[in-house]
Amino acid sequence: MSGSQAGADEPGWVASTHQALLDAGITVVGHVPDGGLSHLIVRLEADDRLRVVRLTTEEEGVAMMAGVHMGGGRGALLMQSSGVGNCTNMLGLLHTCHVSGFILVTMRGQEDEANPWQKPMGEAAGETMTLMGVDVRRADSSDGVAANVTRACADTFTGTEHTGATAVLIEQSVIGAKQFSGDDK
């Protein structure tokens, strides 16, 4: 199936982002799930136009993107902001070897975060990737996600401005903060 059926509660950015990944020619997607990515993952896993790999930890996806690039495909990695920390050293591979690859991160640890343990890596995720040579964009509106994905994919796969991977961080204000039992919001 094409994965085109939207769930009733699917956020507005998901269908257009799915299409943006297809239009960018992504052939292999690795992910570690996040609540904010759940609808997109359902769509991608139902879409036989690309290959989805369920990763055990996020850094595997960084290495896999390098292999996909070497083999002539186009790789993407989907994860939550805490996963960025798991990737730090491996991101150096993409930078050192000028590997094209696209990373989509859903943010935790921002203003409305109800779990303080998410704060350190949430606050450091963007800067960590920048320090490791990834070109980072931030999407702060639902309408802006797909356009940022399209731009970031063009930059890494066909652009001449940046050699290496690119990323889009979807701000927590777009995703919505996770709620916990007993929290009075």
């Binding site: 290495a63 896999m64 070497m70 083999g71 150096g92 000028h98």
Partner: protein, 190 residues
């Protein structure tokens, strides 16, 4: 108990008549080993990214499903990427194989023991993760069967070769990352 096999003899057997085999070399001695047998545009020897060799192999295997991909790595490198065996066991890449040259030591940093010296059985882990085949070669007479598993049998497969702690001549490959990637892509025609 540490191994008796010679790592260069094993590597030569792994890469004999390699044809269009795609080879990823794990950080450290395995990169020197595959280069000693013969540098090749279809070798990607790692100088970093420790723990990433197997997943780089998976990425190549998914992008090139008609080609055989062989990751040649060490026990320390594979242990750092142990979770990748779970991922690979589920990813369905029948053209991917991993050969581990297991000397039970971190050879590049002073020969400190790895956890394969004290119980971790990498072939058992791979089997437990759903690999199609996984063996440990301890004797010379085990080499041919283990090589056949990783060169010819449906994957994902793993062969662990228990090698001795000898340190052969360091034969270094090119270390320029973009060059190594582009020569690989060019040789593949992508």
């Amino acid at each position: 108990m540490s191994g008796i096999l010679n790592r260069r003899d094993v590597t030569a057997a792994l890469l004999a008549d390699r044809g269009d085999l795609l080879v990823i070399g794990g950080l450290g001695a395995p990169s020197w080993d595959i280069t000693a047998i013969g540098d090749n545009d279809l070798n990607f020897p790692l100088w970093g990214a420790m723990g990433g060799a197997a997943m780089i192999g998976l990425g190549v295997a998914l992008a090139q499903p008609e080609r055989r991909v062989l990751v040649v790595t060490g026990d320390g490198e594979q242990l750092m990427g142990l979770t990748a065996l779970s991922t690979i066991g589920s990813a369905g890449a029948t053209n991917l194989a991993i050969a581990v040259l297991d000397n039970e030591r971190y050879g590049e940093t002073g020969m400190q023991a790895t956890t394969t010296a004290t119980g971790t059985d990498l072939a058992a882990v791979a089997a437990g993760c759903g690999f199609a085949g996984a063996v440990t070669a301890r004797a010379e007479s085990d080499i041919d069967g283990a090589v056949d598993l990783v060169r010819n049998q449906p994957g994902p497969t793993m062969a662990v070769f228990k090698v001795n702690a000898d340190v052969p001549e360091q034969v270094v490959p090119p270390r320029d990352g973009p060059y190594l990637v582009e020569r690989f892509r060019t040789a593949l025609g992508v």
